[in-house]
């Protein structure tokens, strides 16, 4: 039995079902990230865990206790909001102590706790300011400080970093991860940023259209996406997904697809899951880092195959150069070493690690190999 269990929970607003039957179960101390594009129901699910939204059907349990009908304040959770939601008329100290005051924590204890949290987050010198006098990053810290006073069973974060600028976001991301490692408290974290999801989580639930599309560790989600949506959403630059056809190449199955000039290329599959399926239309998925120059190919892989293909453009990105070509009528991006002399217009050898290739059914969009 999990520490936090979401058991066939749904949410409807009137006739509109914004969250379909959802099952999630995580253990104590895990860092669960709910990730998905805007409007997919992440915040709704988080608010249901918090008790700010009622569950339309199903159940949510924390430590085995059903949360149906339990008020937010009685769930032993703490939440950090996207907009920080600091009380504008109270000082930072007031903001942090408000929750303890409401829970009738005696004053000396509150003071100790505030000092502790201020120390942990380095906001000691801000305690007597109003939220209006703080920068975005400072507000973010205060919002976290407010949550930290509770010693909750579960921390809930709703896109806590999305209002910060890029640099600060990366710093705070690291701090949140450190905080999790230090405290070991279970966290449920909502974001639309797949990089945040991959870097922070011990477990990811990818959501889309009110459904959990896939649930798993970051590695599982990244290497074995369950369907086209997850494959396309997770990873940056995103996975190359292009149409191909299964053919027989000397007794083993291979993917056949068109290049820019109309000629076709073959890539033999690493496994033989598609052996008896010649002629089947598929969507082939290969991550950019599995398409390299020949010298940069993974030496441990026994399924590196070379495709000669004209380069459309190159995008030098410092450490790597991203090289774009046309496969199956789509842009395919490869990640070359920075010093490879690849130039637009050249015909170049792309080394593809087929051990990392995934295959989807174009109709059902689910994974088939």
């Amino acid at each position: 039995m999990g520490f936090l269990e979401i058991d066939r929970a749904t949410k409807s607003y009137g006739a509109v079902k914004v969250l379909h039957e959802t099952d999630i179960s995580i253990d104590e101390g895990e860092f669960l990230v709910l990730v998905g594009p805007s409007g997919c129901g992440k915040s709704t699910l988080l608010n249901m865990i918090a008790g700010l939204e009622e569950v339309s059907s199903g159940d949510i349990r924390i430590k085995g206790r059903s949360m149906n009908g339990v008020k937010p304040a009685d769930r032993n959770i703490a939440m950090v909001f996207q907009s920080y939601a600091l009380y504008p008329n109270m000082t930072v100290r007031g903001n942090i102590s408000f929750g303890m005051e409401m829970h009738k924590v005696p004053k000396p204890e509150r003071e100790t706790k505030i000092a502790q949290v201020a120390d942990l987050l380095q906001i000691g010198q801000l305690l007597d300011r109003k939220p209006g006098q703080l920068s975005g990053g400072q507000r973010q810290r205060v919002a976290m400080g407010r949550a930290l006073t509770r010693d909750p069973d579960v921390f809930l974060f709703d896109e806590p970093l999305s209002n910060l600028d890029a640099k600060l976001r990366v710093d705070m991301r690291m701090e949140i991860k450190k905080l999790h490692q230090k405290l070991g408290t279970t966290i449920v974290y909502v974001t639309h940023d797949q990089i945040e999801a991959l870097t922070l989580s011990t477990r990811i639930a990818v959501m889309y259209g009110g459904y959990v599309q896939q649930m798993g560790t970051p590695r599982e989600i990244y290497d074995n996406p369950a369907n086209l949506f997850v494959a396309g959403f997770m990873g940056s630059p995103s996975m190359n997904l292009f149409p191909a056809r299964v053919v027989d190449a000397g007794g083993a199955p291979a993917a056949e697809f068109t290049l820019a000039g109309g000629e076709t290329a073959l890539l033999p599959f690493a496994g033989d899951a598609l052996a008896a399926q010649q002629g089947r239309d598929i969507v082939l998925g290969i991550r950019p880092e599995a398409i390299t120059d020949e010298g940069g190919a993974d030496r441990n892989s026994r399924a590196v195959h070379v495709v000669e293909s004209p380069i459309e453009i190159t995008e030098p990105a410092g450490s790597d150069t991203f090289v774009v070509t046309q496969w199956g009528g789509r842009d395919a991006v490869g990640r070359f070493r920075a010093d490879v002399p690849a130039r637009a217009g050249d015909r170049f050898a792309f080394a593809v690690n087929m051990e990392k290739a995934v295959v989807f059914d174009p109709e059902t969009e689910t994974r088939i190999a």
């Binding site: 009380y87 408000f98 409401m102 209006g132």
Partner: protein
């Protein structure tokens, strides 16, 4: 109502560069004309008040002699004291004092209660919405615009049934019923822009319905409370129809008494006393504007939400 909680842009310190001399000189001419016109309107609006004040400070003889516009030759406060405590109002020579007290007793509770209830209504309608909340708000709005005349007779019957006909509490009740519509409208629109996440955060912190209202919303409600109080105070203080319809001799508000003062003078019309009485009736609303207007501060919400 322009109540934007989130967009208090940080503009301080981004001063525009000083304009070039030449441009300033050419810009001066329209500016002078503008100020002239404004001054003219200022005089136009202030003139009636000046006439009233001046005439309330001279003996009756100077007015009847035809010197309406002239300054008093002999300054006197007698008309004021007469209007306040000795003039004939209706049948009694009590001056306006008891009626002034009536008005205060009517307007203070009516304004206070309607403002508090309006704030609570606005809070519920925006932060604790329920099925049919929009419809309910529509009905409340409709209530704002029902003409006074339509409710006169049903209201008289209601007050009779409640046993408060012809009393000050009866008047308070009438104004309360009418005032809640407007105060609800004001607060609902104001709180609609209040970040709901603050309410949710407070809920998670363990604050209940009234605690959230008192500790989170009310401290940020200054500007709208001032607007609401000014509006309610002015309307209720100045009301004549309800006062005339639902009060007895001993519960008449100031406006009705002023009318009686002007009407009931036997023999000579004491214009100077009438002027003094009229100013007395107008002073409290003026005072409310002067005092409360200072609290018309924006920007109380800066920084609650992302910056």
């Amino acid at each position: 109502m322009p109540t934007d909680f989130t967009s208090q842009a940080v503009t301080a310190g981004t001063g525009t560069p000083a304009p070039i001399r030449k441009r300033r000189r050419t810009a001066a001419a329209p500016r002078v004309i503008l100020y002239l016109i404004l001054a003219l309107f200022c005089v136009y609006y202030l003139l009636p008040l000046c006439v009233m004040v001046v005439n309330s400070l001279k003996p009756l003889g100077e007015i009847t002699a035809g010197g309406m516009m002239a300054l008093p030759e002999q300054w006197t406060l007698a008309p004021w004291s007469s209007a306040w405590s000795t003039a004939q109002v209706g049948v009694d020579a009590t001056g306006l004092r008891p009626y002034f007290v009536n008005s205060i007793l009517m307007v203070v509770p009516a304004v206070a209660i309607s403002t508090i209830l309006g704030a609570l209504n606005g809070y519920v309608l925006t932060k604790w919405t329920f099925r049919g909340a929009t419809l309910l708000f529509g009905l409340v709005l409709f209530g704002c615009f029902i003409p006074f005349q339509i409710v006169l007779i049903p209201m008289a019957r209601m007050l009779g049934l409640m046993g408060i006909a012809g009393t000050v509490p009866g008047l308070v009740f009438v104004h309360l019923v009418y005032g809640i519509g407007f105060s609800t409208l004001y607060f609902r629109n104001y709180y609609a822009a209040f970040p709901t996440e603050l309410v949710r955060a407070a809920q998670i912190d363990g604050a209940g319905f009234f605690t959230i209202f008192r500790r989170i919303l009310l401290p940020s409600s200054g500007p709208i409370a001032v607007v609401c109080i000014i509006w309610q105070f002015t309307n209720i203080w100045n009301d004549f129809l309800f006062g005339a319809s639902f009060s007895d001799f001993d519960s008449q508000p100031m406006t009705v008494a002023l009318n009686n003062l002007v009407q009931s003078s036997t023999g000579v019309k004491e214009y100077n006393v009438h002027f003094a009485g009229a100013i007395m009736a107008a002073l409290p609303t003026l005072l409310v504007y002067v005092v409360a207007g200072r609290f018309f501060v924006r920007g109380l919400m800066a920084g609650s939400v992302k910056g």
